[in-house]
Amino acid sequence: MKIRFLYFEDCPSHDEALQRLRRSTEAEGISADVEIVRVETAEDAEKFKFIGSPTITVNGQDIDPPAKPHYALTCRGYRLEDGRISPLPSEAMIRRALREAKTKES
């Protein structure tokens, strides 16, 4: 399983988001390394198809793909299970994506 964590330093939620990702991989019993990518320029954002910070992809798939991706050095929001918008993905969202990837691999 290939897990990538992309972030933009200017958005303050990335530390907490990475901790949520690590807790989620542990909870799902996944031992794959997390590749951490710091996105610093608009060119990087295009190169990495960076929708905003923080972004988590599992086997190349965004854990919460937007309907209309726009690549930029920006913060991104996640629509949580209760309908709220948050700068952070929930652990439930992360774990769901990890489980789906595990299922596809098995």
């Binding site: 200017d10 958005c11 303050p12 939620s13 907490e16 930029a72 920006t74 913060c75 991104r76 929001g77 996640y78 709220r84 918008i85 948050s86 700068p87 952070l88």
Partner: protein
């Protein structure tokens, strides 16, 4: 870094609002407190906090408190922050406060604002009494422990010193042209 510190006077402004009227700081000079919040449409931190902004205005309107939100972002790079989109957001979220457009970014620069949302609370004498973030938890309103802005408002309205007059604003950077 902000150009204002506690004790400084508000910097006047005059900006168009989503109601298609011009709004100046002096319009609210008679209020018990004026809360200027640099804000925008696209930032997920604002989106996480904006219901709380509406609730704060609703809770304090009877006490002579006026919130005023100002969007200074560059809409050419962030089209969701355009004036028409601001009008949509104000309607959608039923903003009960003015939402103003700082197209030239002059007010944001004058205040030294850097983030969205970023709060400047002024008392009835237009003196800055609190600057910083709304509360300590952008992610979960139910998990807030420190209601910084509410606590500052209560102190100002009661004529008491504000115990925490400065916090670090948390949010997206203002998108400069």
């Amino acid at each position: 870094m902000t150009n204002l510190k506690a004790g400084d006077k508000a910097i006047p402004f005059k900006l168009p609002g989503v109601d298609d009227k011009e709004h100046s700081f002096d319009d609210y000079a008679g209020e018990s407190a004026v809360v200027v919040i640099f804000s925008c449409n696209h930032c997920p931190y604002v989106r996480a906090w904006e219901d709380r902004m509406v609730q704060i205005q609703a809770d304090y309107v009877g006490k002579g408190v006026q919130l005023v939100a100002i969007n200074a972002n560059d809409e050419s790079k962030y089209p969701d922050d355009s004036f028409p989109k601001m009008k949509e957001r104000a309607r959608e979220k039923k903003f009960n406060f003015p939402y103003l457009r700082d197209e030239m970014q002059s007010v944001a620069r004058a205040y030294g604002a850097e983030r969205t949302p970023e709060v400047f609370l002024f008392d009835r004498n237009s003196v800055l009494r609190y600057h910083g973030t709304i509360d300590d938890n952008y992610d979960d309103p139910k998990a807030v422990k420190e209601h910084y802005l509410r606590r500052a408002l209560d102190a100002v309205l009661a004529g008491r010193p504000v115990s925490i007059a400065e916090t670090k604003p948390v949010g997206c950077s203002i998108k400069w042209k």
